[in-house]
């Protein structure tokens, strides 16, 4: 700005709305060139990785759930699996199926929330879902109904929709009875129909013509669309164990952006979440979801981030369809949990949170006390890719007025459903304030 001849334009949005947590973005344009893009996180850090040290390994699922009220099950599942990995325990099919059902409930709840309350209003020129409901009450009611079903699944299996209480390392405290699980079939069937309607609805939106050459990372679970486990795989063919992946990812503290940012091998940004899963696990989509995708001509890979709302709708179909099958086949496991005996070891596990891959790694001692904790939430892994998207959106949208461009930028952030509460448990605050 010291060069008087330069035309400088600053786009900033303080307090990005309709994301989970609080962040802001800053884009600097000089002489028609985008010179700086920064997604700032001003969510105060809460130091989970430090406060977990000294706690018993059985406490990790409940404590880490409090990192994020939107995806507590993701935290509980990654924590349980990491502890079981450390202790050399694999739960049986019955417990695994119940966990997957619980996780489907969270996907339904979180995706319905994001599509209807957080993301769709952007495409329809509404400030929020309340405004959208004034115009189209039935549509918003459909979204809320699906969200209610997702919450019902979480309550029935987990005991509570926000921060479920029934999850423990090794399984559950009590397995739900057959009648209460079968009672989920009717709302889930309705939710599956609503999900199919959602696919049709969102695919009719108008999408900016943007595409990105993402490096995708998603979990690979043989024979199924990965949700509750699996091994990381990249779109350029790298397959790794979860522990190898944890070593491969470099989390850097970049001075300018003042945020820890994840890259593969210290250089390559990557993207996790719906677009990555859809690109890498398309072949494992259940038949119904595949038909829905082809009926709206959603190709894989989908590299337009604005179309992530369509992919999320397809994933709603996946989660409802899966949940329904699990409900129909439910038989309570003989024991609600397997015994997990602590030993001195390192455990690593990852699962697919609604917004992307969530990795936990713990060192525990032979008394079961946590000695080191590492948590890689999806948003910190996606942050560099989101900034790349922003750069592209601004470059392609310089003709737009400031207000419109700002909205477009906010939308580009919301495309990835960032959970800033999660990410900020170790993302820095911005020290540069505009």
């Amino acid at each position: 700005m010291s060069h008087g001849a330069k035309r400088t334009r600053t786009i900033s949005a303080e307090g990005i709305s309709r994301v989970e947590g609080e962040g802001s973005l800053r884009v600097l344009v000089e002489d028609g060139l985008v010179t700086e893009v920064a997604l700032d996180i001003f969510e105060p850090p809460r130091y989970f990785e430090a406060l977990l040290v000294g706690r018993h390994f059985s406490e990790a699922p409940d404590i880490t759930a409090r990192i994020c009220g939107i995806c507590p099950v993701a935290y509980q599942m990654s924590a349980c699996l990491a502890m079981e990995d450390a202790c050399g325990v694999v739960v049986g099919e019955g417990i695994a199926a119940l966990r997957r059902l619980l996780y489907c409930g969270e996907w339904i709840q979180s995706h319905a929330l994001h599509i209807y309350l957080l993301h769709a209003p952007d495409f329809l020129d509404c400030a929020d879902a309340v405004q959208l409901a004034e115009r189209d009450p039935d549509t918003v009611a459909r979204g809320l109904d699906m969200k209610r079903t997702g919450n019902l699944v979480m309550q029935t299996v987990g005991g509570r929709a926000v921060h479920p209480v029934n999850v423990r390392v090794g399984g559950f405290y009590r397995t739900p009875d057959v009648a209460s699980i079968r009672a989920l079939a009717e709302p889930l069937r309705r939710a599956r129909d609503e999900a199919l309607e959602t696919v049709e609805w969102v695919s009719g939106f108008e999408f900016p013509d943007v595409s990105s050459d993402y490096r995708f990372v998603a979990l690979d679970q043989p024979g199924r669309y990965a949700i509750d486990g699996g091994h990381p795989r990249t779109s350029d063919g790298v397959e790794l164990s979860t522990a190898q992946f944890a070593d491969f990812v470099v989390e850097e503290h970049v001075a300018r952006s003042t945020a820890l940012q994840a890259t593969l091998g210290g250089s390559d940004p990557y993207l996790t979440g719906p677009l990555a899963r859809y690109a890498l696990n398309w072949a494992s989509l259940p038949e119904l979801a595949r038909q829905a995708a082809s009926s709206v001509a959603l190709l894989s890979p989908c590299t337009n981030p604005f179309r992530s709302i369509v992919v999320r709708a397809i994933e709603l179909v996946v989660a409802c369809d899966e949940a329904l099958a699990l409900v129909d086949n439910y038989e309570p496991p003989i024991e609600p949990a397997v015994e997990v005996v602590a030993r001195e070891a390192t455990g690593t596990a990852a699962t697919e949170a609604p917004r992307g891959l969530l990795l936990h790694q713990y060192d525990i001692d032979n008394q079961g006390i946590i000695r080191r904790a590492r948590i890689m939430p999806p948003t910190s892994q996606n942050q560099l890719s989101i900034e790349d998207d922003l750069r592209r959106v601004v470059e392609g949208g310089l003709a737009l007025g400031d207000d419109e461009l700002q909205w477009r930028c906010e939308q580009a952030v919301r495309n990835h459903d960032p959970c800033i509460s999660c990410a900020a448990h170790f993302l820095d605050l911005s020290v540069e304030r505009s």
């Binding site: 309709r18 809460r46 130091y47 430090a50 018993h56 309340v130 005991g159 926000v162 000695r371």
Partner: protein, 280 residues
């Protein structure tokens, strides 16, 4: 400041977030059956998680989630108070400092140094404190997370100009009411039910799990007696300290037990001197 300018129309409501997980404000969005009706009864004029639109105050009612952990937030909560007729806090973080208040009991900066390469960049206070340490609070709704039924009761009460009907007795009474056999008596299970505020409906005991204190101390809780009894039943001091020292660790009553028992066990928080050591 006076609400006379809004008296002629619907009352206005704002939702604010401080250090927290978003779960309590999500409870508002989780009121699927009531959300749209609520939005016609009140004008939600600031709720970042839900809307792009935001209007300046004053607000008739402000819901505040989260604890105060930065110097910026110390100023922000004062501004929220100044622009709100009623200020209601939602959740354990806002009422007692939350799980992030575990930092209050280690050396200043220890947690920041364990997680961040450059703690000097952070605007982060050494203590996580409840909203009531900074401003006058009209009502505190407890829970980690809050119960959405209780949230609706609080909103309805404030809209009607009456005091919310929220129980202050313990989880024990909820167990009795739902006919759950006492886990402590029948199975010597460690349970904070006798000293924890009701509100969840005794969820954990109903699935055979001891209460772990999400709603914080109940009125006139005798934490010392419970702590002693848990010891007699064979729960180790360290386990009792952890039980009291989680989501409401800084709440008077719970705090003393967790800290007194910590004194008898090795300090579990291992100091990390370098970033590399903590995050290899």
């Amino acid at each position: 400041m006076s609400s006379s300018d809004v008296a002629t129309e619907r009352p206005t409501m704002a939702v604010w977030k401080f250090a927290s997980c978003d779960g309590c404000q999500l409870s508002l969005l989780d009121c699927e059956d009531e959300l749209l009706d609520l939005a016609t009864a009140v004008r939600i004029t600031h709720f970042t998680e839900m809307s792009r639109a935001s209007s300046e105050g004053p607000y008739d009612i402000s819901l505040v989630e989260g604890s105060i952990t930065t110097s910026e937030d110390v100023k922000r909560i004062k501004a929220v108070r100044a622009s709100s007729r009623y200020l209601v806090t939602i959740g354990a973080c806002a009422a007692t400092g939350g799980v992030q208040a575990l930092r209050n009991f280690v050396a200043p900066g220890e947690f920041a140094g364990a997680v961040y390469a450059h703690p000097e960049y952070l605007d982060s206070l050494d203590r996580s404190t409840p909203i009531s340490s900074h401003v006058v609070v009209d009502f505190e709704l407890h829970g980690c997370p809050i119960d959405r039924g209780q949230l609706l009761e609080v909103l309805l009460a404030f809209l009607a100009g009456r005091r919310p009907v929220i129980a202050s007795h313990s989880v024990c009474q909820e167990c009795k009411a739902r006919g759950t056999v006492c886990l402590m008596v029948a199975g010597a299970t460690a349970c904070l039910g006798p000293v924890t505020r009701a509100g969840c409906g005794a969820l954990c005991p109903s699935i055979g799990r001891g209460c772990f204190g999400c709603f914080g101390p109940s009125a006139s809780a005798n934490c010392v007696a419970l702590s002693t009894r848990l010891g007699e039943l064979g729960t180790s001091d360290a386990a009792v300290a952890r039980l009291f020292g989680t989501f409401n660790v800084a709440a008077p009553g719970f705090m003393e037990q967790s800290q007194a028992l910590h004194g008898r066990v090795a300090n579990p928080h291992v100091r990390r001197s370098t970033h590399e050591e903590a995050r290899p």
